[in-house]
C-alpha cells in the first residue's frame, strides 16, 4: 500500500485527472450527438483554400525541426540537473556554486559550438535545401 504522503497528495491529482478526462470525453461525445451530420465529398476534403488537394500531407520538411528537438532534449536534461541543485543551494554555498559553474561552462561550450555552426540560424538557407 502507498504511504500517507501519496494518499494525501497524489490521489487528489488522480481524481482531478479522472474528472477532466470525463469532461473532455463528454465534450467530444456531446458535440458528436448534438451536431447534424451531412457528409459531402467536398466537405471531407483536406482544406487547401478551395483547390483540390494535390497528394497527401507527408511532405519533406526542414531538417532544422529535428535539430531543434535534439538540442532541446540535450539542454533540457541539463536544466533538470539544475533543479535539485537549486533547492539545496543554501546548504551547498560556494562549493555548490563552483561545482555548478563548471557544469554550466561545459554546457555553454556546447551551446556556443551549436551557435557558431549556425544550427540556431533559421534565416540562412543551406545549399540544395528545399524552400
Amino acid at each position: 500500500m502507498p504511504n500517507g504522503y501519496f494518499h494525501e497528495n497524489y490521489i487528489p491529482v488522480l481524481i482531478d485527472l479522472g474528472l477532466i478526462v470525463v469532461v473532455a470525453g463528454g465534450m467530444l461525445l456531446l458535440s458528436y450527438l448534438l451536431g447534424q451530420h451531412k457528409r459531402t465529398r467536398e466537405k471531407l476534403m483536406p482544406y487547401e483554400c478551395g483547390m483540390t488537394p494535390t497528394g497527401d500531407a507527408s511532405h519533406r520538411f526542414s531538417i532544422r525541426f529535428y535539430l531543434v528537438a535534439m538540442i532541446f532534449i540535450l539542454l533540457d536534461v541539463e536544466v533538470v540537473f539544475l533543479f535539485p541543485w537549486a533547492v539545496i543551494f543554501r546548504e551547498l554555498k560556494m562549493f555548490g556554486f563552483i561545482e555548478m559553474l563548471l557544469f554550466v561552462l561545459i554546457v555553454v561550450a556546447g551551446f556556443v559550438y551549436l551557435w557558431k555552426k549556425g544550427v540556431l540560424d533559421w534565416s540562412r538557407r543551406e545549399p540544395g535545401e528545399m524552400q
Partner: protein, 335 residues
C-alpha cells in the same frame, strides 16, 4: 482510503473546474472587449448587457455545429489530440494554490509537476497537426512544437532563480517564502529576480502561442495552423486549452514572482472577511497579467519565424543562464 476525503477532493476539483471553464470562456469576452477598445471598436454588445452572454451563446453554437471528420485523417490520434490538449491544460490547476489551503493537491514537487504537465501540451498540437493529414495543419503543428520546446528551455532556466531564493519546489512554500516586507517593498521574487521574470513572462507568452508569437496560427500563411481541420466542439477544445494555458501562465507568474496570495498592503478587514483577502489578491494579480496579455496582443505585430527562433535561443536562453549564475553567486556570497 476514507470516503469523505475522496468526496471533498472531488467537490474541490469540480469547483476548480467550473470556475476555470467560466474564466476561460469569459477571458474570450474580456479579450474581445479590450482589443476592440484598443482598435476603437465596441466589441460584442448584442448578446446580453455589454455582450456578457456572448461566451454562452458561442458555447451553444459550437456544441450544435456539425462535427465532421475529414476523409484521410488518422482517426484515433485525430480524436485524441483535442482531448489531450484540454486535459493537460486543465490538469495543471491540480497543484496551483489559490490561497492558503485552497489547493487540490499540495505536491512537494508542484513546480516540476506544472512544467511537466504543460510541456505535454505540445503532444496535443503535434498529434493534431500530423493526424489531420493536411499541409497547413502539418506545418502549423511543426512550427508550434519547435517554438514551444525552444521557449520551454527559457522558462525552465528562468524558474531556477526562484528556486534558489525559495529553496523549495512546492508552490505553497514558494509563496510562503515571499511573505513580509523589505522596508516598504513586499518581499516578492520579482524585485531580486527582475531579469528572471522578464525571461519567464516573454517565454510564457510564446509558450501559450499568443501574439506576438502566434506563428502556429498565423492566419495569413497557415489558415488556422494545427487546428485547420477541426470543427465544432473539437475546435473549441483547442480554444479552451489555449485560454486555460494563458490563465495557468498568469497564475505561475503570480505565484513565482509576485508573491501569490500575499497583498502589497496589510489588510484591516474584520476576521470573517479575512479569509477572502488572499483569494482577492491572487485573482487581482492574475487578472492584471491577463490584461497585459491582451494589451500586448492589441499592440504588437507578429514576429517572423526566424526572428522568433533566434530571439528565443540567442537572447532569452543566454540571458536566463547569466541570471542564474549571477543569482547563485550573490546567494553564495551572502550565505
Amino acid at each position: 482510503m476514507p470516503l469523505p476525503f475522496i468526496v471533498i477532493t472531488l467537490i474541490k476539483a469540480i469547483v476548480v473546474l467550473i470556475v476555470l471553464m467560466t474564466v476561460a470562456a469569459y477571458l474570450v469576452w474580456f479579450e474581445r472587449k479590450i482589443v476592440a477598445r484598443i482598435q476603437n471598436r465596441w466589441g460584442p454588445t448584442r448578446v446580453g448587457p455589454f455582450g456578457l452572454l456572448q461566451p454562452l451563446a458561442d458555447a451553444i453554437k459550437l456544441l450544435t455545429k456539425e462535427d465532421f471528420t475529414p476523409a484521410g485523417v488518422f482517426r484515433v490520434p485525430y480524436l485524441l489530440a483535442p482531448a489531450l490538449s484540454l486535459t493537460v491544460a486543465l490538469l495543471a490547476f491540480a497543484v496551483i494554490p489559490f490561497g492558503p489551503g485552497f489547493q487540490i493537491a499540495d505536491l512537494n514537487i508542484g513546480l516540476l509537476f506544472i512544467l511537466a504537465i504543460s510541456s505535454m501540451g505540445v503532444y496535443g498540437i503535434v498529434l493534431a497537426g500530423w493526424a489531420s493529414n493536411s499541409k497547413y495543419s502539418l506545418l502549423g503543428g511543426l512550427r508550434s512544437s519547435a517554438q514551444m520546446i525552444s521557449y520551454e528551455l527559457a522558462i525552465s532556466l528562468s524558474v531556477v532563480g526562484v528556486l534558489l531564493l525559495g529553496g523549495s519546489l512546492s508552490l505553497r512554500e514558494i509563496v510562503s517564502a515571499q511573505s513580509g516586507v523589505w522596508g516598504l517593498v513586499p518581499r516578492w521574487n520579482v524585485f531580486p529576480q527582475l531579469v528572471g521574470f522578464f525571461c519567464f513572462f516573454i517565454a510564457a507568452i510564446a509558450e501559450t502561442n499568443r501574439l506576438p508569437f502566434d506563428l502556429p496560427e498565423a492566419e495569413t500563411e497557415l489558415v488556422a495552423g494545427y487546428h485547420t481541420e477541426y470543427s465544432s466542439m473539437k475546435f473549441a477544445m483547442f480554444f479552451i486549452a489555449e485560454y486555460t494555458n494563458m490563465v495557468t501562465a498568469s497564475c505561475m507568474a503570480t505565484i513565482l514572482f509576485f508573491g501569490g496570495w500575499h497583498g502589497p498592503v496589510p489588510s484591516f478587514l474584520p476576521a470573517p472577511l479575512q479569509a477572502v483577502v488572499p483569494l482577492f489578491w491572487f485573482s487581482l494579480k492574475v487578472v492584471l497579467f491577463l490584461f497585459v496579455y491582451v494589451w500586448i496582443r492589441g499592440t504588437l505585430p507578429r514576429f517572423r519565424y526566424d526572428q522568433l527562433m533566434s530571439f528565443g535561443w540567442k537572447f532569452l536562453v543566454p540571458l536566463a543562464l547569466i541570471n542564474l549564475v549571477v543569482t547563485s553567486f550573490v546567494i553564495a556570497l551572502r550565505a
